[in-house]
Symmetry: C2
Subunit: 278 residues, 2 copies
Protein backbone atom coordinates (compact mmCIF):
# COMPACT_ATOMS: atom_id res chain seq x y z
CA UNK A 1 0.00 0.00 0.00
CA UNK A 2 2.87 2.34 0.76
CA UNK A 3 3.94 1.59 -2.81
CA UNK A 4 1.12 3.62 -4.30
CA UNK A 5 2.98 6.43 -6.02
CA UNK A 6 3.13 8.26 -9.30
CA UNK A 7 4.30 5.25 -11.17
CA UNK A 8 1.61 3.05 -9.82
CA UNK A 9 -0.86 5.74 -10.74
CA UNK A 10 0.24 5.65 -14.37
CA UNK A 11 0.20 1.90 -14.26
CA UNK A 12 -3.29 1.93 -12.96
CA UNK A 13 -4.45 4.02 -15.88
CA UNK A 14 -2.61 1.66 -18.15
CA UNK A 15 -4.17 -1.39 -16.59
CA UNK A 16 -7.62 0.13 -16.44
CA UNK A 17 -7.38 1.08 -20.09
CA UNK A 18 -6.48 -2.42 -21.05
CA UNK A 19 -9.10 -3.95 -18.88
CA UNK A 20 -11.61 -1.76 -20.67
CA UNK A 21 -10.21 -2.85 -24.03
CA UNK A 22 -10.34 -6.39 -22.72
CA UNK A 23 -8.11 -9.08 -24.16
CA UNK A 24 -4.56 -7.86 -24.52
CA UNK A 25 -2.41 -10.87 -25.12
CA UNK A 26 0.77 -9.22 -23.99
CA UNK A 27 -0.58 -9.06 -20.47
CA UNK A 28 -0.37 -12.23 -18.58
CA UNK A 29 -3.34 -11.90 -16.29
CA UNK A 30 -2.96 -14.02 -13.24
CA UNK A 31 -6.37 -14.30 -11.61
CA UNK A 32 -5.01 -15.89 -8.46
CA UNK A 33 -5.64 -13.90 -5.31
CA UNK A 34 -2.42 -12.49 -4.10
CA UNK A 35 -2.77 -12.00 -0.40
CA UNK A 36 0.83 -11.70 0.59
CA UNK A 37 2.16 -10.02 -2.58
CA UNK A 38 3.12 -6.38 -2.71
CA UNK A 39 1.24 -4.14 -5.14
CA UNK A 40 4.34 -3.08 -7.03
CA UNK A 41 6.41 -6.17 -6.77
CA UNK A 42 10.00 -6.53 -7.95
CA UNK A 43 8.73 -8.55 -10.87
CA UNK A 44 7.01 -5.42 -12.13
CA UNK A 45 3.46 -6.58 -11.51
CA UNK A 46 0.54 -4.52 -10.23
CA UNK A 47 -2.31 -5.67 -8.08
CA UNK A 48 -5.67 -4.18 -8.92
CA UNK A 49 -8.74 -5.37 -7.09
CA UNK A 50 -7.00 -8.56 -6.09
CA UNK A 51 -6.19 -9.36 -9.70
CA UNK A 52 -2.55 -9.39 -10.56
CA UNK A 53 -1.58 -7.79 -13.84
CA UNK A 54 1.89 -8.19 -15.16
CA UNK A 55 3.10 -5.83 -17.84
CA UNK A 56 5.26 -8.28 -19.59
CA UNK A 57 5.67 -10.03 -22.93
CA UNK A 58 3.62 -13.06 -23.87
CA UNK A 59 5.07 -16.02 -22.04
CA UNK A 60 5.13 -18.14 -25.18
CA UNK A 61 8.01 -15.95 -26.27
CA UNK A 62 10.39 -17.29 -23.67
CA UNK A 63 10.82 -20.86 -22.50
CA UNK A 64 11.10 -19.61 -18.91
CA UNK A 65 10.13 -16.20 -17.67
CA UNK A 66 13.41 -14.23 -17.67
CA UNK A 67 12.03 -11.79 -15.09
CA UNK A 68 11.72 -14.60 -12.56
CA UNK A 69 15.43 -15.00 -11.87
CA UNK A 70 18.57 -12.95 -11.49
CA UNK A 71 20.17 -14.71 -14.46
CA UNK A 72 17.09 -14.21 -16.62
CA UNK A 73 17.08 -10.49 -15.93
CA UNK A 74 20.79 -10.29 -16.67
CA UNK A 75 20.26 -12.09 -19.97
CA UNK A 76 17.65 -9.57 -21.04
CA UNK A 77 19.37 -6.40 -19.76
CA UNK A 78 22.85 -7.27 -20.93
CA UNK A 79 21.68 -9.06 -24.05
CA UNK A 80 19.83 -5.94 -25.09
CA UNK A 81 22.98 -3.86 -24.73
CA UNK A 82 25.16 -6.43 -26.47
CA UNK A 83 22.84 -6.79 -29.43
CA UNK A 84 22.66 -3.04 -29.80
CA UNK A 85 26.44 -2.89 -29.74
CA UNK A 86 27.34 -5.66 -32.20
CA UNK A 87 24.10 -6.08 -34.20
CA UNK A 88 21.71 -8.99 -34.60
CA UNK A 89 23.87 -10.95 -37.05
CA UNK A 90 26.96 -10.90 -34.86
CA UNK A 91 25.06 -11.44 -31.64
CA UNK A 92 25.29 -15.01 -30.33
CA UNK A 93 24.24 -16.61 -27.09
CA UNK A 94 27.83 -17.72 -26.64
CA UNK A 95 29.12 -14.16 -26.66
CA UNK A 96 26.38 -13.07 -24.29
CA UNK A 97 27.13 -15.99 -21.97
CA UNK A 98 30.80 -15.00 -21.84
CA UNK A 99 29.82 -11.40 -21.08
CA UNK A 100 27.56 -12.25 -18.16
CA UNK A 101 29.77 -15.07 -16.94
CA UNK A 102 27.46 -18.00 -17.53
CA UNK A 103 27.16 -20.76 -20.10
CA UNK A 104 25.44 -20.85 -23.46
CA UNK A 105 23.08 -23.66 -22.51
CA UNK A 106 21.78 -21.63 -19.59
CA UNK A 107 20.56 -18.97 -21.98
CA UNK A 108 18.97 -21.57 -24.21
CA UNK A 109 16.86 -22.55 -21.24
CA UNK A 110 15.25 -19.11 -21.35
CA UNK A 111 15.08 -18.48 -25.08
CA UNK A 112 14.67 -20.97 -27.90
CA UNK A 113 16.97 -18.99 -30.18
CA UNK A 114 18.17 -15.50 -30.86
CA UNK A 115 15.24 -14.72 -33.12
CA UNK A 116 12.85 -15.29 -30.21
CA UNK A 117 15.12 -13.22 -28.04
CA UNK A 118 14.94 -10.33 -30.48
CA UNK A 119 11.18 -10.70 -30.63
CA UNK A 120 11.08 -10.62 -26.84
CA UNK A 121 13.03 -7.36 -26.78
CA UNK A 122 10.86 -5.82 -29.48
CA UNK A 123 7.75 -6.87 -27.62
CA UNK A 124 9.03 -4.84 -24.70
CA UNK A 125 9.57 -1.95 -27.07
CA UNK A 126 6.12 -2.15 -28.62
CA UNK A 127 4.47 -2.50 -25.24
CA UNK A 128 6.35 0.50 -23.88
CA UNK A 129 5.40 2.48 -26.97
CA UNK A 130 1.73 1.69 -26.64
CA UNK A 131 1.85 2.37 -22.91
CA UNK A 132 3.51 5.71 -23.58
CA UNK A 133 0.92 6.59 -26.19
CA UNK A 134 -1.95 5.77 -23.84
CA UNK A 135 -0.52 7.66 -20.89
CA UNK A 136 0.67 10.66 -22.90
CA UNK A 137 -2.54 11.12 -24.83
CA UNK A 138 -5.00 10.58 -22.01
CA UNK A 139 -5.40 14.27 -21.22
CA UNK A 140 -5.48 15.47 -24.82
CA UNK A 141 -8.90 16.03 -26.34
CA UNK A 142 -8.10 17.58 -29.68
CA UNK A 143 -7.42 14.86 -32.22
CA UNK A 144 -4.90 17.00 -34.09
CA UNK A 145 -2.91 17.42 -30.91
CA UNK A 146 -3.23 13.72 -30.21
CA UNK A 147 -1.68 12.87 -33.55
CA UNK A 148 1.05 15.46 -33.07
CA UNK A 149 1.90 13.99 -29.67
CA UNK A 150 1.80 10.51 -31.14
CA UNK A 151 4.28 11.44 -33.86
CA UNK A 152 6.68 12.80 -31.25
CA UNK A 153 6.50 9.48 -29.45
CA UNK A 154 7.11 7.27 -32.47
CA UNK A 155 9.91 9.62 -33.55
CA UNK A 156 11.52 9.05 -30.14
CA UNK A 157 11.27 12.71 -29.24
CA UNK A 158 9.10 12.29 -26.15
CA UNK A 159 10.55 11.94 -22.65
CA UNK A 160 10.60 8.35 -21.45
CA UNK A 161 8.00 7.64 -18.85
CA UNK A 162 9.27 6.36 -15.53
CA UNK A 163 9.61 2.67 -15.38
CA UNK A 164 11.36 0.14 -13.19
CA UNK A 165 12.19 -2.25 -15.99
CA UNK A 166 15.86 -1.33 -15.87
CA UNK A 167 16.05 -1.69 -19.65
CA UNK A 168 18.47 0.51 -21.57
CA UNK A 169 15.95 2.58 -23.47
CA UNK A 170 18.53 3.94 -25.87
CA UNK A 171 19.65 0.43 -26.81
CA UNK A 172 16.04 -0.64 -27.16
CA UNK A 173 15.36 2.20 -29.55
CA UNK A 174 18.48 1.39 -31.54
CA UNK A 175 17.41 -2.22 -31.87
CA UNK A 176 13.89 -1.23 -32.89
CA UNK A 177 15.41 0.96 -35.59
CA UNK A 178 17.96 -1.43 -37.05
CA UNK A 179 16.61 -4.90 -36.32
CA UNK A 180 12.85 -4.80 -36.07
CA UNK A 181 12.08 -5.81 -39.63
CA UNK A 182 14.18 -8.94 -39.16
CA UNK A 183 11.56 -10.44 -36.89
CA UNK A 184 8.86 -10.55 -39.54
CA UNK A 185 10.80 -10.70 -42.81
CA UNK A 186 11.40 -14.43 -42.41
CA UNK A 187 9.98 -17.55 -44.00
CA UNK A 188 8.45 -18.60 -40.65
CA UNK A 189 6.39 -15.40 -40.39
CA UNK A 190 3.00 -17.15 -40.63
CA UNK A 191 3.95 -19.68 -38.00
CA UNK A 192 5.10 -16.99 -35.56
CA UNK A 193 2.03 -14.95 -36.33
CA UNK A 194 -0.21 -17.92 -35.54
CA UNK A 195 1.32 -17.90 -32.06
CA UNK A 196 0.05 -14.30 -31.70
CA UNK A 197 3.56 -13.05 -31.16
CA UNK A 198 3.13 -10.01 -33.38
CA UNK A 199 0.06 -8.88 -31.51
CA UNK A 200 1.85 -6.10 -29.63
CA UNK A 201 2.98 -4.58 -32.89
CA UNK A 202 -0.44 -5.00 -34.43
CA UNK A 203 -2.06 -3.46 -31.37
CA UNK A 204 0.24 -0.46 -31.51
CA UNK A 205 -0.45 -0.10 -35.20
CA UNK A 206 -4.18 -0.52 -34.60
CA UNK A 207 -4.16 2.15 -31.90
CA UNK A 208 -2.45 4.61 -34.22
CA UNK A 209 -4.86 3.71 -36.99
CA UNK A 210 -7.66 4.40 -34.50
CA UNK A 211 -6.33 7.90 -33.86
CA UNK A 212 -6.20 8.51 -37.60
CA UNK A 213 -9.74 7.22 -37.94
CA UNK A 214 -10.88 9.54 -35.16
CA UNK A 215 -9.50 12.53 -37.03
CA UNK A 216 -10.46 11.44 -40.54
CA UNK A 217 -13.19 8.81 -40.34
CA UNK A 218 -13.53 8.29 -44.08
CA UNK A 219 -9.84 7.84 -44.89
CA UNK A 220 -9.70 4.36 -46.41
CA UNK A 221 -6.16 3.33 -45.42
CA UNK A 222 -5.68 4.11 -41.71
CA UNK A 223 -3.78 0.92 -40.92
CA UNK A 224 -1.48 1.21 -43.91
CA UNK A 225 -0.78 4.79 -42.93
CA UNK A 226 -0.09 3.72 -39.36
CA UNK A 227 2.37 1.04 -40.38
CA UNK A 228 3.98 3.48 -42.80
CA UNK A 229 4.47 6.05 -40.04
CA UNK A 230 5.84 3.44 -37.66
CA UNK A 231 8.26 2.03 -40.21
CA UNK A 232 9.40 5.41 -41.45
CA UNK A 233 9.92 6.73 -37.94
CA UNK A 234 12.54 3.98 -37.63
CA UNK A 235 13.92 3.92 -41.14
CA UNK A 236 14.33 7.61 -41.97
CA UNK A 237 16.72 8.31 -39.08
CA UNK A 238 18.63 5.16 -40.00
CA UNK A 239 18.96 6.44 -43.56
CA UNK A 240 19.92 9.88 -42.26
CA UNK A 241 22.73 8.31 -40.33
CA UNK A 242 24.01 5.79 -42.85
CA UNK A 243 22.57 6.47 -46.30
CA UNK A 244 21.76 10.17 -46.35
CA UNK A 245 21.05 10.16 -50.09
CA UNK A 246 17.82 8.33 -49.32
CA UNK A 247 16.36 10.97 -47.07
CA UNK A 248 16.01 14.67 -46.30
CA UNK A 249 15.66 14.36 -42.55
CA UNK A 250 18.64 15.34 -40.46
CA UNK A 251 20.89 13.27 -38.28
CA UNK A 252 19.38 11.51 -35.29
CA UNK A 253 20.48 14.18 -32.85
CA UNK A 254 18.03 16.52 -34.56
CA UNK A 255 14.58 14.90 -34.64
CA UNK A 256 12.81 18.08 -35.78
CA UNK A 257 13.06 17.34 -39.48
CA UNK A 258 11.82 13.80 -38.98
CA UNK A 259 8.85 15.12 -37.04
CA UNK A 260 8.14 17.77 -39.66
CA UNK A 261 8.32 15.19 -42.40
CA UNK A 262 5.98 12.81 -40.60
CA UNK A 263 3.52 15.52 -39.53
CA UNK A 264 3.42 17.02 -42.98
CA UNK A 265 2.94 13.59 -44.44
CA UNK A 266 0.20 12.43 -42.07
CA UNK A 267 -1.84 15.63 -42.12
CA UNK A 268 -1.49 16.05 -45.87
CA UNK A 269 -3.02 12.63 -46.28
CA UNK A 270 -5.71 12.93 -43.61
CA UNK A 271 -6.82 16.55 -43.95
CA UNK A 272 -8.82 15.80 -47.08
CA UNK A 273 -10.93 13.39 -45.06
CA UNK A 274 -11.19 15.43 -41.85
CA UNK A 275 -14.74 16.70 -41.39
CA UNK A 276 -14.18 19.89 -39.35
CA UNK A 277 -11.48 22.42 -40.19
CA UNK A 278 -9.99 23.42 -43.59
Amino acid sequence: MFFINATIDKRFIFVAEFVRNCQKSFFSVNPAFQQKGLPCAPDNSVTVMNLRFTIRPNEKLALRDPESSELGRKIVRQGLVLMHKIGYEHFTFRKLAAEIDTKEASIYRYFENKHRFLLYLLTWHWNIMEYTVIVSLRNIDDSVEKIRALIRIVANDAPDLDDETGLDRNALHGIAMAESSKVYLIKEVDEVNREQLFKPYKDLCGRIAGLFGEYAPTYPYPRSLASTVLEMAQLQPYFAHHLPALTDVGRDDDPDKLISFLENFVFSVLDKYAPKKN
Copy 2:
Protein backbone atom coordinates in the same frame (compact mmCIF):
# COMPACT_ATOMS: atom_id res chain seq x y z
CA MET B 1 23.48 -5.80 -87.31
CA PHE B 2 20.51 -8.07 -87.83
CA PHE B 3 20.22 -7.89 -84.04
CA ILE B 4 18.92 -4.36 -84.11
CA ASN B 5 15.39 -4.83 -82.89
CA ALA B 6 12.94 -3.41 -80.38
CA THR B 7 15.02 -4.49 -77.45
CA ILE B 8 18.15 -2.93 -78.76
CA ASP B 9 16.17 0.18 -79.41
CA LYS B 10 15.05 0.38 -75.79
CA ARG B 11 18.56 -0.37 -74.68
CA PHE B 12 19.87 2.42 -76.80
CA ILE B 13 17.58 4.90 -75.14
CA PHE B 14 18.68 3.51 -71.82
CA VAL B 15 22.34 3.79 -72.66
CA ALA B 16 21.98 7.23 -74.19
CA GLU B 17 20.14 8.41 -71.10
CA PHE B 18 22.91 7.21 -68.87
CA VAL B 19 25.62 8.58 -71.04
CA ARG B 20 23.90 11.93 -70.75
CA ASN B 21 23.73 11.55 -66.97
CA CYS B 22 27.37 10.50 -67.07
CA GLN B 23 28.86 8.30 -64.36
CA LYS B 24 26.56 5.46 -63.47
CA SER B 25 28.55 3.09 -61.34
CA PHE B 26 26.39 0.11 -62.13
CA PHE B 27 27.49 0.22 -65.73
CA SER B 28 30.79 -1.31 -66.45
CA VAL B 29 31.88 0.70 -69.44
CA ASN B 30 34.45 -1.12 -71.44
CA PRO B 31 36.06 1.40 -73.77
CA ALA B 32 37.87 -1.24 -75.81
CA PHE B 33 36.92 -1.33 -79.44
CA GLN B 34 34.92 -4.38 -80.20
CA GLN B 35 35.42 -5.17 -83.84
CA LYS B 36 34.30 -8.73 -83.92
CA GLY B 37 31.59 -8.55 -81.23
CA LEU B 38 27.89 -8.63 -82.00
CA PRO B 39 25.81 -5.61 -80.98
CA CYS B 40 23.57 -7.63 -78.68
CA ALA B 41 25.96 -10.20 -77.39
CA PRO B 42 25.02 -13.19 -75.26
CA ASP B 43 26.60 -11.45 -72.29
CA ASN B 44 23.91 -8.81 -72.58
CA SER B 45 26.15 -6.00 -73.72
CA VAL B 46 25.36 -3.32 -76.26
CA THR B 47 27.73 -1.67 -78.64
CA VAL B 48 27.18 2.03 -79.23
CA MET B 49 29.61 3.98 -81.34
CA ASN B 50 32.29 1.36 -80.83
CA LEU B 51 31.95 1.68 -77.06
CA ARG B 52 30.73 -1.38 -75.30
CA PHE B 53 28.19 -0.82 -72.54
CA THR B 54 27.24 -3.64 -70.28
CA ILE B 55 24.07 -3.37 -68.27
CA ARG B 56 25.37 -5.22 -65.31
CA PRO B 57 26.06 -4.79 -61.60
CA ASN B 58 29.20 -3.12 -60.31
CA GLU B 59 32.02 -5.60 -60.62
CA LYS B 60 33.18 -4.98 -57.07
CA LEU B 61 30.08 -6.90 -56.03
CA ALA B 62 31.34 -10.20 -57.35
CA LEU B 63 34.83 -11.64 -57.16
CA ARG B 64 34.49 -12.88 -60.73
CA ASP B 65 31.89 -11.78 -63.22
CA PRO B 66 29.17 -14.45 -62.99
CA GLU B 67 27.94 -13.60 -66.49
CA SER B 68 31.25 -14.67 -67.96
CA SER B 69 30.79 -18.39 -67.48
CA GLU B 70 28.14 -21.06 -67.66
CA LEU B 71 28.57 -21.87 -63.99
CA GLY B 72 28.41 -18.21 -62.99
CA ARG B 73 25.12 -17.76 -64.82
CA LYS B 74 23.75 -20.91 -63.23
CA ILE B 75 24.73 -19.63 -59.78
CA VAL B 76 22.83 -16.41 -60.32
CA ARG B 77 19.75 -17.86 -62.05
CA GLN B 78 19.32 -20.85 -59.78
CA GLY B 79 20.51 -19.02 -56.68
CA LEU B 80 17.85 -16.41 -57.24
CA VAL B 81 15.17 -19.08 -57.41
CA LEU B 82 16.52 -20.97 -54.41
CA MET B 83 16.73 -17.89 -52.23
CA HIS B 84 13.20 -16.94 -53.16
CA LYS B 85 12.06 -20.42 -52.25
CA ILE B 86 13.76 -20.92 -48.88
CA GLY B 87 14.52 -17.34 -47.78
CA TYR B 88 17.77 -15.53 -47.12
CA GLU B 89 18.37 -17.05 -43.68
CA HIS B 90 18.06 -20.63 -44.87
CA PHE B 91 19.91 -20.04 -48.10
CA THR B 92 23.49 -21.30 -48.08
CA PHE B 93 26.09 -21.70 -50.79
CA ARG B 94 26.28 -25.35 -49.85
CA LYS B 95 22.62 -25.93 -50.65
CA LEU B 96 22.91 -24.00 -53.89
CA ALA B 97 25.99 -25.99 -54.86
CA ALA B 98 24.11 -29.25 -54.31
CA GLU B 99 21.23 -27.97 -56.42
CA ILE B 100 23.35 -27.02 -59.41
CA ASP B 101 25.68 -29.97 -59.00
CA THR B 102 28.87 -28.17 -58.16
CA LYS B 103 30.89 -27.49 -55.03
CA GLU B 104 30.59 -24.77 -52.43
CA ALA B 105 34.10 -23.43 -53.00
CA SER B 106 33.31 -22.83 -56.66
CA ILE B 107 30.55 -20.44 -55.66
CA TYR B 108 32.87 -18.67 -53.23
CA ARG B 109 35.08 -17.91 -56.17
CA TYR B 110 32.30 -15.79 -57.61
CA PHE B 111 30.81 -14.25 -54.46
CA GLU B 112 32.52 -13.38 -51.21
CA ASN B 113 29.50 -14.41 -49.16
CA LYS B 114 25.75 -14.66 -49.35
CA HIS B 115 25.25 -11.06 -48.31
CA ARG B 116 27.15 -9.93 -51.39
CA PHE B 117 25.17 -12.38 -53.46
CA LEU B 118 21.91 -10.87 -52.21
CA LEU B 119 23.23 -7.41 -52.93
CA TYR B 120 24.15 -8.57 -56.44
CA LEU B 121 20.60 -9.80 -57.03
CA LEU B 122 19.08 -6.62 -55.64
CA THR B 123 21.38 -4.54 -57.81
CA TRP B 124 19.88 -6.32 -60.78
CA HIS B 125 16.45 -5.51 -59.42
CA TRP B 126 17.19 -1.82 -58.84
CA ASN B 127 18.83 -1.49 -62.25
CA ILE B 128 15.88 -3.11 -63.96
CA MET B 129 13.53 -0.84 -62.04
CA GLU B 130 15.37 2.31 -63.03
CA TYR B 131 15.65 1.08 -66.61
CA THR B 132 11.92 0.40 -66.65
CA VAL B 133 11.16 3.83 -65.23
CA ILE B 134 13.31 5.56 -67.84
CA VAL B 135 11.90 3.63 -70.76
CA SER B 136 8.29 3.77 -69.62
CA LEU B 137 8.28 7.46 -68.83
CA ARG B 138 10.19 8.70 -71.86
CA ASN B 139 7.09 9.53 -73.88
CA ILE B 140 5.08 11.00 -71.02
CA ASP B 141 5.13 14.77 -70.68
CA ASP B 142 2.61 15.42 -67.93
CA SER B 143 4.32 15.12 -64.57
CA VAL B 144 1.15 13.80 -62.91
CA GLU B 145 1.01 11.00 -65.43
CA LYS B 146 4.71 10.37 -64.97
CA ILE B 147 4.22 9.87 -61.25
CA ARG B 148 1.20 7.66 -61.82
CA ALA B 149 3.18 5.48 -64.21
CA LEU B 150 6.06 5.40 -61.78
CA ILE B 151 3.83 4.16 -58.98
CA ARG B 152 2.55 1.35 -61.18
CA ILE B 153 6.11 0.28 -61.79
CA VAL B 154 7.23 0.30 -58.17
CA ALA B 155 4.01 -1.49 -57.23
CA ASN B 156 4.96 -4.21 -59.72
CA ASP B 157 1.86 -3.59 -61.82
CA ALA B 158 3.63 -2.68 -65.03
CA PRO B 159 4.43 -5.26 -67.71
CA ASP B 160 8.05 -6.39 -67.61
CA LEU B 161 10.09 -5.00 -70.43
CA ASP B 162 11.74 -7.53 -72.67
CA ASP B 163 15.11 -8.60 -71.54
CA GLU B 164 17.50 -11.42 -72.25
CA THR B 165 18.81 -11.68 -68.73
CA GLY B 166 16.98 -14.95 -68.16
CA LEU B 167 16.31 -13.94 -64.56
CA ASP B 168 13.13 -15.15 -62.91
CA ARG B 169 11.41 -11.80 -62.51
CA ASN B 170 8.85 -13.13 -60.10
CA ALA B 171 11.55 -14.50 -57.80
CA LEU B 172 13.46 -11.24 -58.09
CA HIS B 173 10.40 -9.30 -57.02
CA GLY B 174 9.79 -11.67 -54.12
CA ILE B 175 13.36 -11.22 -52.92
CA ALA B 176 13.14 -7.45 -53.25
CA MET B 177 10.00 -7.56 -51.12
CA ALA B 178 11.16 -9.87 -48.34
CA GLU B 179 14.93 -9.51 -48.22
CA SER B 180 15.92 -6.08 -49.47
CA SER B 181 16.18 -4.38 -46.09
CA LYS B 182 18.62 -7.06 -44.96
CA VAL B 183 21.30 -5.66 -47.21
CA TYR B 184 21.48 -2.31 -45.46
CA LEU B 185 20.26 -3.08 -41.92
CA ILE B 186 23.66 -4.44 -40.91
CA LYS B 187 26.52 -3.16 -38.81
CA GLU B 188 28.78 -3.04 -41.89
CA VAL B 189 26.44 -0.65 -43.72
CA ASP B 190 28.92 2.25 -43.83
CA GLU B 191 31.68 0.05 -45.15
CA VAL B 192 29.49 -1.33 -47.93
CA ASN B 193 28.24 2.14 -48.71
CA ARG B 194 31.80 3.41 -49.03
CA GLU B 195 32.26 0.85 -51.81
CA GLN B 196 29.37 2.56 -53.66
CA LEU B 197 27.37 -0.64 -53.65
CA PHE B 198 24.10 1.06 -52.72
CA LYS B 199 24.41 3.47 -55.60
CA PRO B 200 21.80 1.72 -57.75
CA TYR B 201 19.25 2.04 -54.98
CA LYS B 202 20.20 5.64 -54.32
CA ASP B 203 19.99 6.41 -58.03
CA LEU B 204 16.54 4.89 -58.28
CA CYS B 205 15.45 6.82 -55.22
CA GLY B 206 17.02 9.99 -56.57
CA ARG B 207 15.25 9.59 -59.90
CA ILE B 208 11.91 9.24 -58.15
CA ALA B 209 12.70 12.22 -55.95
CA GLY B 210 13.48 14.11 -59.15
CA LEU B 211 10.04 13.35 -60.54
CA PHE B 212 8.49 14.58 -57.31
CA GLY B 213 10.59 17.72 -57.49
CA GLU B 214 9.47 18.29 -61.06
CA TYR B 215 5.85 18.19 -59.98
CA ALA B 216 6.23 20.03 -56.67
CA PRO B 217 9.47 21.99 -56.70
CA THR B 218 9.11 23.43 -53.21
CA TYR B 219 8.29 20.21 -51.38
CA PRO B 220 11.08 19.91 -48.80
CA TYR B 221 11.28 16.10 -48.48
CA PRO B 222 11.36 14.60 -51.98
CA ARG B 223 13.98 11.97 -51.18
CA SER B 224 12.29 10.87 -47.96
CA LEU B 225 9.03 10.59 -49.85
CA ALA B 226 10.75 8.58 -52.59
CA SER B 227 12.28 6.13 -50.13
CA THR B 228 8.93 5.89 -48.35
CA VAL B 229 7.18 5.00 -51.59
CA LEU B 230 9.83 2.45 -52.52
CA GLU B 231 9.81 0.80 -49.11
CA MET B 232 6.04 0.76 -48.80
CA ALA B 233 5.58 -0.63 -52.28
CA GLN B 234 7.48 -3.65 -50.99
CA LEU B 235 6.25 -3.80 -47.42
CA GLN B 236 2.52 -3.23 -47.77
CA PRO B 237 1.95 -6.26 -50.03
CA TYR B 238 4.10 -8.32 -47.68
CA PHE B 239 1.92 -7.22 -44.78
CA ALA B 240 -1.20 -7.89 -46.83
CA HIS B 241 -0.04 -11.42 -47.37
CA HIS B 242 1.31 -12.25 -43.93
CA LEU B 243 0.19 -9.66 -41.37
CA PRO B 244 -3.05 -8.20 -42.75
CA ALA B 245 -3.77 -6.33 -39.52
CA LEU B 246 -1.01 -3.92 -40.44
CA THR B 247 -2.47 -2.82 -43.73
CA ASP B 248 -5.60 -2.04 -45.71
CA VAL B 249 -4.24 -2.99 -49.11
CA GLY B 250 -5.44 -6.24 -50.58
CA ARG B 251 -3.60 -9.43 -51.32
CA ASP B 252 -0.81 -9.35 -53.85
CA ASP B 253 -2.97 -10.63 -56.69
CA ASP B 254 -4.89 -7.34 -56.49
CA PRO B 255 -2.45 -4.44 -56.75
CA ASP B 256 -5.18 -1.81 -57.21
CA LYS B 257 -5.50 -0.98 -53.54
CA LEU B 258 -1.75 -0.69 -53.14
CA ILE B 259 -1.64 1.68 -56.09
CA SER B 260 -4.55 3.71 -54.72
CA PHE B 261 -2.89 3.95 -51.35
CA LEU B 262 0.43 5.05 -52.83
CA GLU B 263 -1.11 7.49 -55.31
CA ASN B 264 -3.35 8.97 -52.65
CA PHE B 265 -0.51 9.66 -50.28
CA VAL B 266 1.98 10.87 -52.84
CA PHE B 267 -0.42 13.34 -54.38
CA SER B 268 -1.85 14.37 -51.02
CA VAL B 269 1.62 15.31 -49.91
CA LEU B 270 2.77 16.92 -53.15
CA ASP B 271 -0.37 18.73 -54.29
CA LYS B 272 0.09 21.47 -51.72
CA TYR B 273 3.42 22.31 -53.30
CA ALA B 274 2.42 21.89 -56.94
CA PRO B 275 2.34 25.28 -58.67
CA LYS B 276 -0.33 24.71 -61.35
CA LYS B 277 -3.51 22.79 -60.66
CA ASN B 278 -5.25 22.23 -57.30
